[in-house]
């Protein structure tokens, strides 16, 4: 069998060798704490600040507005909890969309537990938030609002510019989770008035375990980690210097190569969509145009997702499943249910996400394997009468 083909780039991307190379001196060489005054500390600090500038530059921010975190989840938690908790005792309401990544969704649930009222904004069948509905949900006591820039499951890109402007006009802090969008969608915070924005290293061909939160100058935020006051007090704890340097390199490469990557990914994505739609009873979820360049999300009628993922795995193809099965009950994705997918169809969804290193040959052999796997699983499915 030929080499396995990786088509689950929304879960994590491979580490770019150029990123790895930039990290190595900080892993294997002499090491200092970036807070130390001596030369060792100085060298670490230099790497840190260079990376900060590179991350800022990917999204049009200034370096002082970047806070490094342990990943996308921590960045989202810091934004949602931090914005809400610093808003004063009269503001006890938050607005959050129904298509957030679990990092934002669960942080908002935490707010509910703390006594905040949360308005969950629904979406249409493509997963799009309606700006008018969003605007109507904002109140004088709204402490913060959050809508994902691009959804991690179906890849729908939200009208964040419009939403952020609505919030800016009413002085309500607005958070955007851009973990999937960064490097695939042009992001410029000097044009889009978000208050905070979350990024992650390992979705950008950078290392796992590193992320960043953009915090607009003047926005007040309560930390969720306390200690030595690093990262301007917003994220205490000695920084993960190697990870941060890797994220910096990944951000620089993403900015330089974004156009080429997007063109390449889109070509592969469209090839997959066209190929898969030839299989009967396969439906694409999410918006056709307003969609990430690397995302194909499908409902495969009569086939349960996990069995399809494992079947393809055994043939050497790695894709993502859209639901989790355990203890006798499947858990349908809240995002798909919010989009109006019936529960039983929500168990039959898979996510295929290409990356910059995938090839046309890989895609073609994948299409063949996919069609074989679906045919065989349908053969034994009591729910497919094709």
């Amino acid at each position: 069998m030929s080499d396995p083909v990786y088509l689950d780039n929304a879960a994590t991307t491979p580490l770019d060798p150029r990123v790895l190379e930039s990290m190595l001196p900080h892993l294997g060489g002499p090491r200092g704490n970036p807070s130390s005054l001596h030369a060792f500390g100085g060298s670490a600090r230099e790497g840190l600040e260079e990376a900060r500038a590179r991350v800022a530059s990917l999204i049009g921010a200034s370096p002082e507005e970047i806070v490094f975190t342990s990943g996308g989840t921590e960045a989202d938690d810091l934004a949602v909890l931090g914005l809400a908790r610093s808003s004063g005792s009269e503001k006890r309401h938050a607005v959050v969309s129904c298509v957030e990544h679990a990092a934002v969704r669960e942080a908002a649930r935490r707010l509910q537990y703390e006594g905040f009222e949360v308005t969950w904004i629904g979406v249409d069948g493509d997963g799009l938030v309606d700006p008018a509905e969003f605007a109507a949900s904002l109140r004088p006591d709204t402490a913060m609002a959050a809508v994902v820039w691009a959804n991690n499951e179906v890849g729908t890109v939200e009208p964040v510019l419009e939403l952020a402007e609505i919030c800016a006009g009413t002085d309500i802090p607005f958070h955007a989770d851009a973990v999937q969008a960064a490097g695939r969608v042009p992001i410029d915070v000097s044009e889009t008035p978000v208050s905070t924005l979350a990024l992650s290293g390992h979705k950008l061909y950078g290392p796992q375990g590193i992320g960043a939160l953009y915090v607009r100058e003047g926005v007040s935020l309560e930390p969720i980690v306390y200690g030595g006051g690093q990262e301007k007090g917003l994220r205490s704890g000695t920084q993960n210097v190697a990870g941060i340097v890797g994220l910096g390199t990944a951000a620089r490469l993403a900015r330089e190569e974004m156009d080429d990557r997007v063109t390449h990914e889109r070509g592969l994505r469209d090839r997959i969509m066209a190929g898969l739609e030839e299989i009967p009873d396969v439906l694409v979820n999410g918006h056709r145009e307003l969609r990430l360049s690397n995302n194909v999300h499908l409902m495969v009628s009569g086939v349960e997702a996990e069995s399809l993922v494992l079947f393809l795995d055994s043939l050497g193809y790695a894709i993502g499943s859209g639901s989790a099965c355990s203890s006798g009950g499947h858990k349908a994705s809240p995002v798909l249910l919010a989009m109006g997918l019936p529960e039983r169809e929500a168990f039959s969804v898979v996510r295929i996400t290409v990356g910059k290193d995938n090839t046309t040959e890989e895609v073609d052999s994948f299409l063949e394997a996919f069609s074989t796997a679906v045919a065989q699983l349908r053969e034994i499915s009591p729910l497919y009468a094709g």
């Binding site: 069995s307 055994s314 729910l383």
Partner: protein, 492 residues
């Protein structure tokens, strides 16, 4: 290098069954078909079986579900095809796990339950097809000489120990659980109700084959409708008696005949003596002879009640000692199809209750009531009429909607008319009669009436003799059941 990417969450055997499923598909003209699970839960398994001379000649399966479910279906089909029905019905979840190379990943164990349940439902369908309009009430007795027995298993400790004792006594044992109604515990789950799954696990842990029979139609007709009808006709039914008279023993006997087995067994506390006749068990506090009187003689002659020789405490001790999980199950409730015990609410859901008058024995109206279903002869509470001396219900007249009340002494009865008799011994031997489940036998003499009914003349007056309840006659030494019947309405 694909191996690196094969998920380490599953063993290679599971992936192999997923990618190369055995026995996938369905039989066009099967002997039985069973389905378990629900599309809304995300898992569905469907088995079709071809059975000939009790050999499982063909097994085909289809599964929609996670890899564990598909692999479990494939492995189970492979395991049981070609086997004798009794061996196939003994295949446990543990056997299936072995066939899949060991325990499934955490959280995937339900796959085993799902496919085993679907296969067993196919067996159940096979029996129901053979029985036709179930489990027609034909009684076919076979010789009682052999050492094979069908033991009814409810999921409780008594029936589990019954099966265990029989196996240890050297019997070939097949177990059976009846589906009687839809109110069973755990009915919301995707598979069979918890009671069925629990009974099956218990049987399989003892290494015994387990079957299910669907008796819902028969049980509804013979027990539940009778229960509702009796109350609205002013009688006080005993559903356990109705079940023993028409359902449980007949169905066990049917399965024994089909399997070529000699005996049937239940976990009742009673003994069977020559005759055959019923006799009191060792544990008097658990005595169930009062509800067993209607078992037809030819069925009783092939029945075994192993628990008649044990005390309940010994039964629990045996279960504990042998590691049966059922050792700690609670005592079952009085009426299995009314789990909350509120039988009046149950009846009101089935029939409309009509208000009527509460009258005294002279016909004077004392008050109103909300429906005759709320009253039983002998009842003292919730009559809704205040009086200087306590009032008791002495009669319920469903046609006029009247509930007659009187003083305690007005309820005293010295003569009880009994219909639908089932005699085990010569009626002459009847020396006492018990007319309530928790009552004691009262000395009496009996006499046959012109219409085939019998009259019991009581040596001392009894109060609260309710039409519809059982009248069970005991021998002079009080040990044996001479026969039994149903208390008839006075004056009818």
């Amino acid at each position: 290098m694909a191996g690196l990417f094969v998920s380490d969450r599953y063993r290679p055997q599971v992936v192999d069954h997923l990618v190369r499923p055995r026995n996938a598909g369905k039989i066009a003209d099967p002997s039985g078909r069973g389905e378990s699970g629900d599309a809304a839960c995300g898992d569905v398994a469907c088995f079709t079986v071809g059975i000939s001379d009790d050999i499982l000649e063909q097994v085909r399966y289809k599964v929609y579900g996670c890899a564990a479910c598909i692999a479990a279906g494939s492995a189970l089909a492979e395991l049981v095809e070609g086997k004798h029905l009794l061996d196939a019905a003994s295949v446990s979840k543990a056997d299936l796990e072995d066939a899949l190379g060991g325990p499934l990943p955490a959280g995937k164990e339900h796959a085993l339950t799902l496919v085993v349940d679907a296969l067993h439902k196919a067996f159940e369908d096979h029996w129901n097809r053979k029985a036709g309009e179930m489990l027609s009430e034909t009684k076919r007795g076979q010789g009682a000489g052999g050492r094979s027995v069908v033991a009814a298993m409810s999921g409780g400790v008594d029936s589990a120990v019954t099966a265990l004792l029989l196996r240890e006594a050297g019997y070939d044992v097949a177990t059976v659980t009846f589906r009687l109604h839809d109110g069973e515990r755990g009915s919301r789950s995707c598979c069979s109700p918890d009671t069925v799954l629990f009974a099956r696990d218990t049987a399989h842990r003892m290494g015994l084959p387990h079957f299910t029979l669907n008796l819902k139609g028969l049980f509804d007709r013979r027990v539940m409708q009778d229960f509702v009808g009796s109350y609205s006709e002013g009688r006080t039914p005993n559903p356990c008696v109705a079940c023993n008279a028409h359902v449980k023993f007949h169905a066990s006997s049917f399965l024994a005949d089909e399997l070529g087995f000699h005996h049937i067994a239940t976990g009742h506390y009673a003994r069977i003596e020559e005759g055959p006749t019923l006799a009191r068990p060792v544990d008097e506090s658990k005595d169930q002879t009062y509800v067993l009187w209607p078992v037809p003689r030819d069925l009783l002659s092939r029945t075994v009640f192993p628990l008649g020789d044990y005390r309940k405490t010994e039964v629990r001790a045996i279960a504990e000692e042998r590691g049966l999980a059922v050792a700690y199950t609670p005592e079952s409730q009085d009426i299995c199809f009314i789990p909350d015990g509120d039988y009046r609410r149950f009846i009101r859901k089935k029939v409309e209750a009509k208000p009527g008058d509460v009258v005294d024995r002279e016909g004077r109206v004392l008050g109103r009531h909300a429906g005759v279903v709320d009253f039983t002869v002998g009842q003292r509470r919730k009559i809704g009429v205040s009086a200087p001396t306590p009032l008791y219900v002495s009669e319920v007249r469903p046609r006029s909607g009247q509930v007659v009340v009187g003083r305690r002494q007005d309820l005293e009865v010295r003569e009880v008319r009994v219909r639908d008799l089932n005699w085990f011994l010569d009626p002459e031997e009847a020396a006492s009669v018990q007319v309530r489940y928790n009552g004691s036998p009262v000395p009496c003499t009996v006499e046959e009436a012109d219409d085939g009914w019998w009259v019991a003349f009581l040596d001392e007056p009894v109060i609260g003799v309710a039409p519809g309840q059982s009248a069970v006659f005991y021998s002079l030494d009080g040990e044996r059941v001479v026969g039994g019947g149903v208390v008839a309405r006075r004056g009818s």
